[in-house]
């Protein structure tokens, strides 16, 4: 049964998975691409770290986007059929939901593995000066955790009805609007800032997305 759930999700999301895997593989390779195995000067080391840091911004973005697309693609065919097919299959509902979640998570393993492979190749290819260390496995683990956290959250939102998803987005939009209006009115009250701090700073659920995503670091 799980095999067929995985098969359907693969059919719906294979383009995204393939593209995600290519991008995830390319990111670490490109971030060190211009720095070869020759002994690097001090200036070159700084340039390399700066380049890796710049490229590092893209890791959480890619993780979030992949999670969003896979979560949406997981549920959209069921939404289109108003969930009638899924609900008339002879399995408990939690069983079906778990199957869909597991299949999506398994598909996301492909970009994670691609990123790990890319990071290993990039670390091996780059000239790493003394005092610096490459962390390809840690980077891949961090990427996998970010993808999984974002996927779990977005999977829950995407599984809801369009109306519920609309409510969630509506509340977010309303918060942004209130923040903008308060700022225009010169009222010193902040709603979004503290809320975002709670979500993105430890022990917030999205803390994994913040901080420096570095393949090579001190």
């Amino acid at each position: 049964m799980f095999r067929m759930i995985l098969f359907t999700q693969w059919k719906w999301a294979r383009a995204v998975v393939a593209l995600g895997a290519v991008i995830a593989f390319a990111l670490p390779v490109l971030s060190v691409g211009q720095f070869g195995r020759e002994q690097a000067s001090r200036w070159e080391v700084q340039a390399m770290l700066s380049s890796i840091q710049s490229w590092g911004v893209l890791y959480p973005v890619v993780a979030g986007l992949l999670a969003l697309l896979i979560a949406v693609l997981t549920w959209s065919p069921d939404h289109r059929g108003r969930h009638v097919y899924a609900l008339t299959l002879p399995v408990p509902r939690w069983h079906y939901v778990l199957g869909r979640f597991g299949a999506g998570a398994l598909l996301l393993a492909a970009p994670v593995i691609a990123l790990w492979a890319g990071a290993l190749i990039a670390a091996a290819a780059a000239s790493i000066p003394p005092g610096l260390q490459a962390y390809p496995t840690m980077l891949a683990l961090r990427f996998s955790l970010a993808v999984l956290v974002a996927y779990a959250l977005l999977f829950a939102v995407a599984s809801a009805t369009t109306r519920t998803a609309g409510y969630v987005l509506g509340v977010l939009a309303a918060l942004i609007l209130v923040e903008v209006l308060l700022s225009v009115a010169d009222v010193n009250v902040h709603i979004l800032g503290p809320a975002l701090m709670r979500v993105f700073l430890w022990p917030g659920p999205l803390e994994i997305f913040t901080g420096r995503w570095m393949l090579i670091d001190v």
Partner: protein
Amino acid sequence: MSHAIDIRDLHYRAGKAFEIRDLQLRVPTGSLYGFLGPNGSGKTTTVRLLLGLLRPLRGTILVLGADVASQIPRILARTGYVPEQPHLYPTLTVGEAQRFHAAFYPTWDWAWAGELAGQFGLDRDRRLAQLSKGEMGKLEMLLALAQRPELLVLDEPTDGLDPVVRRDVLAALLDYVSQHNATVFISSHLVHELERICDWVGVMDRGRLVAELPMQSFKNGIKRLRVVNPPALPGDTPFVVLAREANAGVETWTVRGWQGPMQAYFEGVGASLREVIDLDLEEGFVELLRTFREPAPPV
């Protein structure tokens, strides 16, 4: 008599506009039960309640002896369902849709699925999005039948299909039922279709079950009578008067529960019965609904 479907005191409300009240419905095991009703009468809602897609406010629904509220996966494993609207994943091919469906049903019969696919002319490699309405209807029926269900719940299964496809689909259904003694609960507003295949009939209107009886009783029981010198008030009749229409000294009565010996009633009230006219199911259905909506017979 055992019942494949047994609904008791069911109450369901969908907003303020529509509700099903105090529904009692019993589908005998092994019967072909036609569930009739005009559009919006609550047929599809009842089907969804049967399959656990909706939750009633109160009442119990037993399907194949199990309670829908607590044992729905067990019930669905033994029930084939053809919905009103196609509900399968359009990106799959016919073959993939079968493989997906089969993975959930341990009783799936691949040999028969192949036979039905050949009989229906379904190409395994065609995507569902490319199928015509008729082909989709055939595939839905194939999936429902090849899982070898004890109960088939069909919601307007032939609505919008051309006569050839309709004949193929119904032939496959009847073939299965005759071989496996399965129960069929078929909801439709196509009265003539049900008249040919069903042995029980339930009529739904405005969220209420108006009638539930063997098809033969329904067809034979509703008659149109031409009555000369009718009494002003029918009094205590042995049959149910659904409607009376006067026309130049002769009244036409539409009655339910008619039997031959009842003509003695007319002699007793000084009237005479000139003619007894058989109604087909559609006419009987229309008269029944008319009476339900305007209960007092015109005098």
